[in-house]
Subunit: 317 residues, 2 copies
């Protein structure tokens, strides 16, 4: 089946191609009766406007870009795509290996008018993408950090952290440990800050901290001020500790409680299941897409806060 | 910074916009010296051709589409994107909730000329996408199954299965079990067929089989003809069994060996690590993208076999 063209519609309707064009574009020059007949035939043939032509005339690509380096949170991509679809905007995704390739992708997309705007997930401290996008003047939404004069979706680590720490205090814990994720991600910097603030407020001390691998967890447990509960920035690191409890010679949760900041299938794969702060990544993606669509219409950046994650209590606490 | 236009280049070069257009499109009407000066200025300004205009003139969108329902293998998406980038073709991704939404996406994309072709991953038996794409006459590549007159990338389950079964026989196993994945995926149907064929050939029996959840594994282990080694279609199901070994009252690998068909981070997250058949998803994606680009140039469908997966031996065998 060939794609239906204006010519096909014209033949079927028994009018000129110009008349079809007038009818479908809502311009004068054809009778109402012809306009209706042409619309009906166009619909029956499954005709759609050529987006390349629309993009040229409207100076809009009808496409939003997302560049990711490594696995993206799938639920967030799904949330983005769903909201863009409401306005008939498509999502274009590029997967790159490094920051340089990412910058080059933005330059190409923007200069060639392939996208109308971009979404930036997992912003980093001193993120080179932010000054680049500002310099190019690309409408952009950051997911997970603020930047002056840019649209952003930010979360609420203090509230969700307070929920987790209050839960651990109820369970009798007084000494907490923090197993940190990659320090260059703004998200992890915010989590660290929130956890320290809440721990000082509720327990009068800051938690002992370490990097994310199993060796680091082992070192933390060997300290004289050994914590009885650990909060992990990365759920896979939390699940790995649970999976290796026998190797670490640990009974969970009696000898060690574990909380993951972020929830995914791995938290339920292990035994016992990992208590986790569950974020609605889909909602964050939807908000981000809506901010970008608004930004494209109004030119005005906006910030939006997504609700704090829910604490899902499982066997590790 | 505004996007540079033909007008900006003309002003900077001191020539007319028409002359810039002639120079950049390689058409006669300007001197070689002007052509060079214009190219140099265009490059310095970071000018790129407007893809919407290119798409209109060439009848090509310069975009390939991928529709996924749920998490896609990220390495494969990365392989696809990398190969498309070689030819300057972009990847557009849609995430949908059901088959109907997927079909509608193909119809829209194709009718509106948003994409030049599509990639279909995880084909299913009686997959409605295949007749739809054939009817629309959309250039398409299937990843993981054959269909007459369509481009396809297929794998080699018999060879990789033989490697796994030979390894288990070396370890002394004579009774195998198969923990099946979703039956409607062609991939799993091919795996089942391959495993039965290889088991009959090397052991003279077919493996006992069951569905994929922990309850099903438990039932398999309660049978009088209890297998001593299980091959799982889904690595998360294999890792879940390992993580719950203490609950199942099982010592792994002494009382039960576990092999996963497919490798991912979860195989190393649990203890002991899961022996797995590792596929090069990136290479499969790259092959698929190349087949589609060839198909777009020549109109001729091609099939390509990706090499068998490697057996990565870990603590569960």
């Amino acid at each position: 089946m060939k794609r239906p063209t204006i010519g096909d519609i014209a033949r079927r309707a028994g009018v000129s191609k110009a008349a079809v064009s007038y009818a479908l574009n809502g311009r004068p020059g054809v009778s109402e009766e012809t306009r209706e007949r042409v619309s009906r035939i166009a619909h029956a043939l499954g005709w759609r406007a050529n987006t390349a032509a629309l993009a040229l005339s409207a100076e809009r690509a009808g496409v939003v870009g997302l560049v990711v380096a490594g696995p993206a949170p799938w639920a967030m991509v799904e949330g983005i795509e769903r909201e863009l679809a409401v306005d008939g905007v498509a999502l274009q995704v590029a997967i790159v290996r490094d920051t340089e390739a990412e910058a080059e992708t933005y330059r190409d997309w923007w200069a060639a008018r392939r996208v109308d705007g971009v979404l930036v997930i997992d912003p980093r401290s001193d993120d080179p993408r932010i000054p680049l996008l500002r310099k190019l003047n690309v409408p952009a939404v950051l997911v997970g950090a603020h930047a002056p004069d840019m649209s952003a979706v930010v979360d609420d680590p203090v509230t969700e952290c307070r929920r987790a720490v209050e839960h651990l205090i109820e369970r009798g814990h007084r000494k907490l440990g923090h197993v940190a994720g990659r320090a260059e991600l703004c998200r992890n910097a915010h989590r660290r800050e929130a956890l320290w603030q809440v721990s000082q407020e509720l327990l009068g001390v800051v938690p002992v901290a370490t990097g994310g691998d199993l060796q680091a967890t082992r070192a933390l447990l060997a300290r004289p001020d050994r914590p009885s509960a650990l909060i992990y920035d990365e759920e896979t690191a939390a699940a790995t500790t649970v999976a290796h409890a026998s190797v670490l010679n640990l009974r969970i949760p009696t000898e060690l409680a574990v909380v993951a900041w972020g929830d995914s299938a791995v938290c339920q794969l292990v035994h016992p299941g990992v208590t986790a702060i569950r974020h609605d990544d889909g909602a964050a993606g939807t908000f981000a897409a809506r901010l970008l669509l608004n930004h494209l219409k109004t030119g005005i950046p906006e910030q939006r806060l997504v609700g704090p994650g829910e604490l899902v209590i499982r066997g590790t606490t």
